[in-house]
Amino acid sequence: MSEAANLYGVVAKFGSPETILAAAQQTKDAGYENIEAYTPFYIEGLDDNLGHAPTRLGWVVLMMGITGLLTGFFIQYWSNAVFYPLNIGGKPLNSWPNFIVITFECTVLFSAFTAGLFMLGRNGLPRPYHPIFNTPGFEDATRDKFFLCIESKDENFELEKVKSFLSGLNPEDVAEVDY
């Protein structure tokens, strides 16, 4: 039995996406807030059932996309029209239609890397250690088992109550997990 201060949370293991969806809903309805589910693949609606707010990733990507667009255009405008004016075939120095392709590519480059790296960063990756990995049988969380954790930092967290609550959700297993 671990000391309460060292306890990360109580984790229940489920055998199917349907059961964990129902369990997540019931856990949220019971008033627990610091809860998280761990699944082998994306389950539609699970983030809703857990009460997770929608991600703001799209807005960040939009901002960076606009930054990329302006960067792409102005590097061409500045270098070919201002810093080192180049007369090519008598075209205007700021012949913007010719600059569209590179402007577009820079927009895509900035937005795509923002989407990818911001997602990893906000998920806290790379992160070699996470207390949830101490859950017995957690190897199956990337295979065919579904885990639901009520974390000890939750305001309503009382070890025995949480354990009996999770046991009541018809899980395959319930375990205490230490840091």
């Binding site: 082998p40 693949f41 929608p54 991600t55 990733l57 070919n80 590519e105 480059l109 989407a115 990818g116």
Partner: protein
């Protein structure tokens, strides 16, 4: 090629995924071949890898020759300054585009059949882009200063000429390559976590742990992940169209007869997809057999990809027709002569005739379901299509450049030994990477397949599938 998954022989199906598959069985069938101990690697893999690596050796020898002697070793000269290197560059990059379309466009169009082939197709994209990207760099003459194309503060006080499509190419291809690698890697992260958790020895555990970045599959992480994945798909789709359009503009912006056409960008994109789906078939048909993945890559996938090949092939043929029509309709004598020379010319007319055979006649059998369901036929047609698309670029580059305007400046083009060795060698590079990929990384996206199986169990179009089954069994095809 024997199956190494050790499963009993299996009845072919036309479902997107076999109904009886479970999350665990998807995992096992994809990951078992990767986890095989090195000394138990099947013989066919060693033979394939050895052949590919030998060709890679040819490639390295050619590059050594190229760097020591200069591009005089190639057949490129006036008037054909763009010979094999550009033909092969366009050919390779075209092949790459199908991978992005499968993983991005078909995701946006909610086509569930993309899921089991997207990983392999994206790998194909990256390897093809690697092969393609090296050509323009290597045929610069001084490949080691290729970075002069990029805008950066330098001691010359110079900047690139941004109105040139050749500089657009640099941006298009480097963006395409880096975004493709990012998209592929993001897709791989959850699968690396699966391999990490399955690992039975320390080396594999470390190897896949590092690659998985510590992915734990929390619901919040998945939420962000799916959003990022969707955004990447939405960005990659227009990106892939822009890349091949840019390559088409390398030609179309020039004023040579046969190049200066507005139809070039869309027709090049269609040609790219055409060649790309052919390569998907060439790679997927042996892969599903060799790794026993027939339950995950079913007849449905090959059938659909053949249909796309047929559709884009017909668009390409329409492009040929429009080019010839526009040459006549423009009333420009050089355009008209080019069209005549392309079709009936004595020196390169054979290439056009062969091209019509490969890209128009050889694909017609694909109208028949029976042909699309015959793996050998699809494989052979796909190889013919790949040859046809190579010939298309040969016709565009060589026929136009050999006889453009003044007869006094006409010339001929003959590829040299080193042209051929470099082309063969680039296959070595491609297939070496391919064999390493199928051996070390999961060639099917397992987390996405599990999601598909979950989705299929709830929203599977069983009614539609039964109708299909009935129709198929009437024709004696596998259901």
């Amino acid at each position: 090629m024997a199956s190494i998954s050790g499963k009993p022989p299996f009845k072919e199906t036309n479902r997107v995924i076999v109904k009886s598959e479970t999350f665990a069985s998807i995992d096992d069938s994809v990951n078992k071949p990767i986890e095989t101990a090195p000394f138990k690697t099947p013989l066919w893999w060693w033979i394939g890898f050895f052949m590919a690596a030998s060709l890679l050796g040819v490639y390295l020898v050619t590059i050594t020759m190229l760097i020591t002697k200069g591009i005089g070793i190639f057949g490129n000269n006036q008037p054909v300054a763009w010979g094999f290197p550009i033909i092969n560059f366009v050919w390779w990059i075209g092949i790459g585009h199908a991978g992005t379309l499968i993983s991005a466009a078909l995701l946006l169009f909610r086509q569930p059949w993309r899921t089991s082939i997207n990983r392999a197709a994206e790998a194909m994209t990256i390897f093809a882009v690697v092969c393609a990207g090296l050509y323009p760099i290597l045929h610069l003459g001084r490949p080691w200063v290729f970075y002069w194309l990029a805008p950066y503060p330098n001691t010359f006080g110079l900047f690139p000429q941004f109105r040139s499509p050749l500089d657009w190419d640099l941006f298009a291809i480097s963006t395409y390559a880096s975004v493709s690698i990012l998209f592929w890697y993001i897709g791989l992260v959850p699968d690396f976590a699966t391999l990490r958790d399955r690992a039975r020895n320390t080396f594999m555990q470390w190897f896949y742990s590092l690659l998985s970045l510590g992915w734990n599959g929390s619901a919040k992480a998945w939420q962000r992940y799916m959003r990022a994945y969707l955004i990447l798909a939405a960005l990659s789709f227009p990106l892939v169209l822009s890349v091949h359009s840019t390559i088409a503009m390398d030609f179309a912006v020039g004023q040579l007869p046969g190049w200066n056409n507005t139809i070039m960008p869309p027709y090049f994109v269609a040609g790219a997809v055409f060649a790309g789906f052919a390569m998907v078939n060439i790679l997927a048909i042996p892969l599903r057999k060799a790794f026993g993945l027939e339950r995950l890559i079913t007849y449905r996938h090959i059938d659909n990809s053949s249909k796309l090949m047929l559709a884009t092939g017909m668009i390409v043929v329409y492009g040929y027709a429009v080019e010839l029509f526009m040459a006549w309709y423009s009333g420009v004598e050089f355009e008209r002569y080019m069209a005549f020379n392309r079709v009936l010319g004595t020196d390169h007319g054979w290439a056009f005739a062969l091209l019509i055979f490969c890209n128009l006649i050889a694909i017609q059998p694909l109208w028949s379901k029976r042909v699309r369901q015959n793996m050998t036929m699809v494989f052979i047609i796909s190889i013919i299509v790949s040859i046809g698309m190579w010939l298309e670029r040969y016709v565009i580059v060589v026929v136009t450049l050999t006889k453009d305007f003044l007869p006094g400046s006409w010339g001929d083009y003959v590829a040299t030994f080193w042209d051929y060795s470099m082309y063969l060698g680039s296959f070595g590079l491609f297939f070496t990477l391919w064999f390493l990929f199928i051996r070390l990384l999961p060639s099917i996206a397992t987390s996405e397949m599990k999601e598909l199986q979950h989705h299929d169990s709830h929203h599977g179009s069983d009614y539609y599938e039964e109708q299909r089954a009935e129709e198929f069994s009437k024709k004696g095809l596998p259901v």
